[in-house]
Symmetry: D3
Subunit: 315 residues, 6 copies
Amino acid sequence: MFLRVDKLQIELPAPKKQDPNAGAALQELLGGKYGEMSTLGNYMFQSFNFRSKSKLRPFYELVAAITAEELGHVELVSNGVAMLNNGPDTAADDSGDGGDISMSPFEAMQEIRSAASFFSHGGGAVPVNSNSMSWNVDMVTTTGNVVFDLLHNFHLECGARLHKLRVYESLDSGDATGREICGYLLVRGGVHAHAYALALKKLTGVSIEQMLPTPNIPTGKIPECQKYLAEGAHRRLYTFSPGDYRAMAGIWEGEMALPDDPPGELQVVEGMPDGGRIHDLVGQPSAFTPDYAPEEFYEIAQRLTQKAHQGGGSL
Amino acid sequence: MFLRVDKLQIELPAPKKQDPNAGAALQELLGGKYGEMSTLGNYMFQSFNFRSKSKLRPFYELVAAITAEELGHVELVSNGVAMLNNGPDTAADDSGDGGDISMSPFEAMQEIRSAASFFSHGGGAVPVNSNSMSWNVDMVTTTGNVVFDLLHNFHLECGARLHKLRVYESLDSGDATGREICGYLLVRGGVHAHAYALALKKLTGVSIEQMLPTPNIPTGKIPECQKYLAEGAHRRLYTFSPGDYRAMAGIWEGEMALPDDPPGELQVVEGMPDGGRIHDLVGQPSAFTPDYAPEEFYEIAQRLTQKAHQGGGSL
Amino acid sequence: MFLRVDKLQIELPAPKKQDPNAGAALQELLGGKYGEMSTLGNYMFQSFNFRSKSKLRPFYELVAAITAEELGHVELVSNGVAMLNNGPDTAADDSGDGGDISMSPFEAMQEIRSAASFFSHGGGAVPVNSNSMSWNVDMVTTTGNVVFDLLHNFHLECGARLHKLRVYESLDSGDATGREICGYLLVRGGVHAHAYALALKKLTGVSIEQMLPTPNIPTGKIPECQKYLAEGAHRRLYTFSPGDYRAMAGIWEGEMALPDDPPGELQVVEGMPDGGRIHDLVGQPSAFTPDYAPEEFYEIAQRLTQKAHQGGGSL
Amino acid sequence: MFLRVDKLQIELPAPKKQDPNAGAALQELLGGKYGEMSTLGNYMFQSFNFRSKSKLRPFYELVAAITAEELGHVELVSNGVAMLNNGPDTAADDSGDGGDISMSPFEAMQEIRSAASFFSHGGGAVPVNSNSMSWNVDMVTTTGNVVFDLLHNFHLECGARLHKLRVYESLDSGDATGREICGYLLVRGGVHAHAYALALKKLTGVSIEQMLPTPNIPTGKIPECQKYLAEGAHRRLYTFSPGDYRAMAGIWEGEMALPDDPPGELQVVEGMPDGGRIHDLVGQPSAFTPDYAPEEFYEIAQRLTQKAHQGGGSL
Amino acid sequence: MFLRVDKLQIELPAPKKQDPNAGAALQELLGGKYGEMSTLGNYMFQSFNFRSKSKLRPFYELVAAITAEELGHVELVSNGVAMLNNGPDTAADDSGDGGDISMSPFEAMQEIRSAASFFSHGGGAVPVNSNSMSWNVDMVTTTGNVVFDLLHNFHLECGARLHKLRVYESLDSGDATGREICGYLLVRGGVHAHAYALALKKLTGVSIEQMLPTPNIPTGKIPECQKYLAEGAHRRLYTFSPGDYRAMAGIWEGEMALPDDPPGELQVVEGMPDGGRIHDLVGQPSAFTPDYAPEEFYEIAQRLTQKAHQGGGSL
Amino acid sequence: MFLRVDKLQIELPAPKKQDPNAGAALQELLGGKYGEMSTLGNYMFQSFNFRSKSKLRPFYELVAAITAEELGHVELVSNGVAMLNNGPDTAADDSGDGGDISMSPFEAMQEIRSAASFFSHGGGAVPVNSNSMSWNVDMVTTTGNVVFDLLHNFHLECGARLHKLRVYESLDSGDATGREICGYLLVRGGVHAHAYALALKKLTGVSIEQMLPTPNIPTGKIPECQKYLAEGAHRRLYTFSPGDYRAMAGIWEGEMALPDDPPGELQVVEGMPDGGRIHDLVGQPSAFTPDYAPEEFYEIAQRLTQKAHQGGGSL
């Protein structure tokens, strides 16, 4: 089972401008072959299909717990995509009606790389790559062979690192939203690569973690990674659970940070990070989000919210 | 953010026989257009992309919380698929090595409807439908228009009900695993259909919940649904959260169960159901799950588990 | 614009038994690369995109008129698929309710080749091939080059003939529904191949019609084709229009039947063939078609029909 | 069976400039999930697969007749796409040969969003969305359950309205071709949404038509819709048939226009609208449409046209 | 550039019976994610896209040379698929005409798992997996990062080994054709896995070859691998070139066979193996292969062959 | 079996500038429906599946030998794509490390039409069309019917010519790399079209070669084709084999060049053309190709190259 918390893993800086092509670039990290839907999809189905869970508990738990973190990564990148496509929120944006729609208010949308993402999703994120191709089952490997699946995951995280780096390099230095996402995910993806490497080492004796980082640029060279490295995020594996998945400590704890990263012992932390506020993502009535004339809906929602807070005996 | 709990939403009865074609049938409820990957994918991305969350909180929270439940549905169906493909667990199954593989131990796998699911996934579940076609973005609607997205979701849940019913009707009366899944999901899907109907009613004034159930067979006619109806599962919407999503009570509470179902008031329950044990899914060394000669791995895992339990200062 | 007539191009014999694998075989002729969706899709879009229509009128009209016939072919094969999947109609079939659905009434559906076609479409036809793969744009060629598009169409009709022959050869001699469809379409497809060949000959001087029939089995060897050959269907090109497309006679008329076929002059006929009754396709309440307990719907429909017949001032 | 008439449902204003990105935007309304190929594909296959046609005649006929109109919508949007990609016709355009092709005459085509639509289709329309993704079977719902299929169709038409509105908002105010298409289709799509709503109301008693319009902008706010509203197009359902489908009047007639639209009684009209001329779509020999040196072909076509007009005894 | 030799890498034993489901199983090794089209596609495009070829010559050449071997693997598996689908050749099979096709000669083809492979390909191989899903670009990784691409390739070969083993286990002990293919490819795939491991070791220092074999069953346990191990095929890397790719010896030579395999030094061999005869794959006139009445074609071909042998001045 | 030679079929002029949209245009000729992956895929699988090879030898050999040439065409276009995406090589480009990646070095990549081709492939070629859609099995026709497959191939080559012409017309006159590829492939594709036409003529008696060239622009009008025509490349069919495929001379020899082309007798040439040097494709450490800090890898490679040259007893 899964629980949800109404926070992102980190708080994202607001976008300074509407930038749909940057949003489309981020989509590579969401729905690309080496994006978060892939890490999620691989680990999620591997954890469902995991063989002999009771006898291979630390390995099962590692995959199971990272799955939960990946859900939050999918959420984080999706929020970033929607924020970049939508641009800065203005308090008044979603008030009033959508005005005169015959004045071509969205003429600019014809020229963006992924015009369908406006027409169809109103700028929202969907599981496609940066060229709008759908994520699909060909991006999921779940064979049930424990060494091979872990090897696949190790390779997947290295590929994910490469893709994050290149997307990062395409982001305008003023695009704090996208760059923060890349910075954070590079550190967390590094943890997963390291974890799968250690799992493989325990099973096969091969010190495959010495291949890290691949590509061979130290994470420390990326400014947006610094604060996460400084606080030791690269040494922490969260259980992302109220009480389960502690046995994965047998793989992670007792080992040390990678040589290029700030030194220290690896650590399993129960639960989840503090996280940050979710952006409100103010609508555009002219784009029919949440609708053309949404005021009445806001009033209804307000009444229902009050009702919920007053009632709630069972809550 | 998402947390994970190492339980299924319900405990599944063990399969009595290996039945890959039944497993393939269940895949329709996992990766089909009206399957759980679709309900998950639609609500998950809608919740990420939701516009004016602060002003439409009960509606946002409804979609967000149901997303978390759908993750558990994807998990439940996936477990069922893997169990039916794998057959009954035998304690000794994953011990020893895989024996003489030249004796065509998996000749039968050529004849099953989805042979690739054995060759590639060792009988594990993946996001495909009952004909092995991949789930993909064409099954995701997230427009940002609040009425339309809710209407879509209402239609999706009705479609999901129809598909569950037909898959149920294809399951051998001895196939308790698959039928239990259908019974449970029919009740829970009914809750979601009802919830989206009420949300639409609040926004538009249309009593669309009177279209339920569609198809028009009372849930009470399905034996496997009885215990869930009896315990009132059809009246409960869980927050699937340690503390968020209570405002959705404004939509759900104060309304009554549908006329065909056991009567009573609708109720939002904080947290999640008790849930049940996850099947161990014993491996088959002859299929290289977890590997051909896994004993050494079991010993390694046992040592690592002990280490985790001894250490764990930070846990 | 298009008009519709509530008839099939020919009347189909009722199926003698439910035969979903035969239905799936027919799907090759519906959604396969060389199936009717492809002939329709190619000619339809070619006719929309046709360049210099006014200067190339006979060629434009040929493609435009055949498009209309192909719509009827898609309809014919679809009816055949649904009839074979559904089996013989029994007057009482769709009366009463669907009974006890917990008795696995559709257990057999797990074993058919395209189980999803039952779960999802209730046995109805959809644009997929005999292995359930979707028809898609890669099966459409519309370049705007008149010689190349005609050459493509000529090759397409030859390929369609080959596929019809092989599907025909897979149909049980008792399967009159499917065999009648093949017999009719072989004759009509032969007309289209011949017509495109003559169009090419007019433009290029190459007697490409001498390549017909490909594959080189005379149509006369297929018993189900005899009555259509006998009535001269192989020499007739219909306008499938109340008044347009007569200029295509410039290509077709004045030429003779192919040497292997019954001799005679080619002829353009205004309008359409007489056609035959559409099968009622009685529902199965147990499969929720039209619904689980449809009697009330029948009564509603009867009332509305009466109302329509009484009112109708504007009709 | 289907007949074809060599007219569009309305006459389209000629494009003022070549505008391939506008053409690509229109593709969303052709091959997108909520585009005309989808409305066509859903209703066409639903009508083929319709269960118990004789007992549910008004419902069957509604779906069957709208199918025929949708064919004309696919045609209309396709013509628009090809016109925008091609630009204004000039009488002399397709005369002479294509000139010196080594001078990069189509350098600009590398920069358009859908370059393949030039390379492969010479600017013609194909069944893809605005990002060039193929239309496919995942966009077709045909379950055979009458309530569910109608509910799906109602949702589909609402989604189609949203997509038309957004595409409309992206069209330059000078792009009369595309805007006219949107204006017309918004009115006609509104009729279909209304019709499916009434069908659902007859079957279930739910006044779901009160959800219209969704999105909640009155059609009257779109200038290009005015003339169609003024002539009452929003109150007319055509049979699009020489003589069938009159029983659908039982659903449509006796009801009134939606509150936001010009008032009046709903009406079924036998046959089709007057329609308008199809654009000639003059070729570009430099793009090999209809060919590099087409003059000889024009002469051949002229001779064949004359022959057709002289002969034609059987016409 | 590539040259072709009219031989297979090994001679395949003739099939003893027609076995389309075994042919479909082999398709997993052709068009599956871990099949030969994937190894070919990955290495081929990686070799085309290889960066700084001159400075990384041994690594470039390794990928380039293995590409050529993979072409032969695609050929080998394809031949096997076609042979199993076709069954044993009989000298007289393709003589005479196809007989009375109205006697349902291919009724059995409706029941095979991949019926379209008969209808469309006459039993020939195409790039699809064992469930008939198309091979596609999502199965190609070519990032240009040398360590990551090699790591990907290493993982790909391990995955390929697992899939070959499972397909092997599904092949009837009497199916010598398919088993021979698996036996040979397991040995050759082992060479490629070993080679990529050594390349990675040279670049990163990690002894990743110690992870081999994955899955951890010694190749020696598969009877069909014995003769290839005995002749040292596991120690030989061919250049598959008349004169290039010798520098890859820097990676391969000087190293030893893996511990589980017969011992010995690794060796680069210029050129290719001796290879074996290609099966004639006698046609079936009743399936229109090579055609319904092929005798005339054989005579034409014979005359042209004689002409070629007599002329040939330039040969 | 296939051999590889470390040369391209012609030497390509270096690109003068980085031009990813031109690279994307070239992709149409690689992975489009009428691109080189399609000609390769069709002929390769047709040759594997060819029926009655021994009795139809000249026809089999024609398809088999052209397959080998197509491999080189795929290679040629791929090299062109990678060169245009990468831009001019500078000796120093791949030295040193990748510098400060936080300065948005690849901001421009967000705006190119196929951004994923940078993010995922570092500018390398993959089997997709100019809109990034994957090549797939729907682009492969291999029916086993000899006349139909040859007719398909003839149509395919005509379509390929049209696509090459349009891509050529989109290439900037300064883009010598892309234009050279088009020029060469137009001549060689013309040979293949001619060859398939002659094969069809031998079998059916139809002078289909008189349809060439389609589109009807003489190859002589394209400057980049001149040198190839002058040296007689349009009259030569290579065996692309060290010793096989000579019997195809029975189809090709004894015939004359097409009327529009420089006159002369057709000729089969054993082996392959001289070919040209493969571009080095210098990496970009900032894009992690071959890696961020590749110097150490170059040193390793140099040592291994030396070792290979010194050892090599078995070479």
